[in-house]
Amino acid sequence: MEIFEQLFNALPGSISQGLIWGIMAIGVYITYRILDIADLTVDGSFATGGAVAVMLILNGCNLWLAMLAAFIAGILAGAVTGLLHTFMGIPPILAGILTQLSLYSINLKIMGKANQSVNVNQTDLLISLRWVKEFAFHNPLITVAIVLVILIAILYWFFGTEMGCAIRATGSNLNMSRAQGINTDFNKVLGIMLSNGLVAFSGAFLAQYQGFADVKMGQGSIVIGLAAVIIGEALLGKIFKNFALKLLSVAFGSIIYYIVIQTVITLGLDANLLKLLSAIIVAVFLAIPHWKRKYSEKYMRKSKGGKVNA
């Protein structure tokens, strides 16, 4: 019982962390699901967002302006990957890895060192882990949830416009889109830019939430983003058909991911197994839709007593 109580008390923290990563996961969703590109830039642009925001905040910049700057920095990082891929013909995974690698140096230059603290006692911040149980606007749970809803609304609108539709078309059928006169290269770059902008925006939130930006903070973030996308789809994919709801399910996936991690820590399982556990979570949730399909095919065969129509 005590475990449940501990878990319950820790819930606001893990949900806010999940919400912050949810923004990042939506960025991953745009490249991975909409554009059908595995973009590894995010491991770098996540930290870039944090670094840019923290440095600006320390220099007395307006908080929301710092967030915007982080978003723009992410967009620029995405543009580099996009151009490496389209203009220079480098395969997307490699282009992402190259940008991610170069962002490591750039992040070091932005901060001047590997780790820049932004102390909640000395600096005004939008959100902090400190305020996770206060019923106020600076509670990360409330702020990030509101921002997330606004972002989803904007993205829903954007992907309904001609430009957004073109990005979606590019992702679903490259050749057909080109035949329809869509500039697919341009749309790929645009999609990757948007995705990395969101990732950097999320990094800016996380840096404030945890009180520092670190060059290591983006390491492995692509796995968390993918996990969120996949968990969200596996659990809610059946009922969430609308595009906005699909984005919401990604955020839910991210929250669930962090609740699982928190549970592992609360139960006192060997923390050395944490990475293995993350990999298992992703693998299991990737397998669920596959198993479901297999099962339903079998079921259909049985019920119809014959071949399934192809």
């Binding site: 008390n9 839910f252 944490l274």
Partner: protein, 324 residues
Amino acid sequence: MKKVVSLMLALVLCLGSCFALTSCTSNKSDEKYQIGICQLVEHVALDAATDGFMQAIIDELGEDAVEFDVQNGQGDPATCSTIANQFVSNNVDLIMANATPALQSVAAATGDIPILGTSVTEYGVALNLKDFNGTVGGNISGTSDLAPLDKQAAMIIEWVPDAKTVGLLYCSKEANSQYQVEVVKKELENKGLIAKLYPFTDSNDLAQICTAAADNCDVIYVPTDNTVADNTGIIDNICEPKKVPVIAGEEGICAVCGIATLSISYYDLGYTTGMMAVRILRDGADISTMPIEYADKQTPKYNKQNCEALGITPLEGYIAIDEN
């Protein structure tokens, strides 16, 4: 379908009632002190500090009086935040944060629960304090693993008197290391030597950077760097054939690839931190007035095997590192 809906409902319910439960967290066993330990990564030095911390508290308060919750962030700063969240929501009596990102995460999580840091080199840098004078104030204090850098710079000159160029090898991911090499660089330049920085990214490019350093410098200095500590073998394999001596900031590194070090014991450092915790928990000391404490003794040590290989006679006053 029903399951999914109920799951979502449960989530929303949880979200809503989180706020209601904020103040009802003190349901823990009252006789025992609850101490949360957040350690950044599994590592010889950090492990020793955690052991020393727990031993000090057990020695003073007895084994039955405390309950430790030891958590390891696996080198991932974001995991430290999750751990910090856990400790704060369990409302532990005291949190020990082992290494800089652990301290930063915990400091972001609470302004009330006493926090003791250890293995943190510079609290002013770690917490971005403008006028840091040795006392952090608020709910934070702790111990620093800063070995006296001026003494270390002097040591380089003592051991390799005819050196002109010193290579400072460190991992660019570690803010602590960067701070140390910058201070040492200044000290060396004041003494008329040329000091060059050789930052590397990770174990993959360490070999190339280390080779460049060994080719261009007469002696190499490495600070208390966690990445170097994990890859001492690489440095030894490069520097020994080239006959370039390595001065290390810490005994663990020196034992493999160095010739000499001014060693601080992380176990003692942890023990000192543990004694601070006892003063806070048992004696009711006010953490906001407690200054940062340092390792009180440094032991000059040398690596016998490496000195022999390089034909260097150990200086007096240095003792050999135990060979295992």
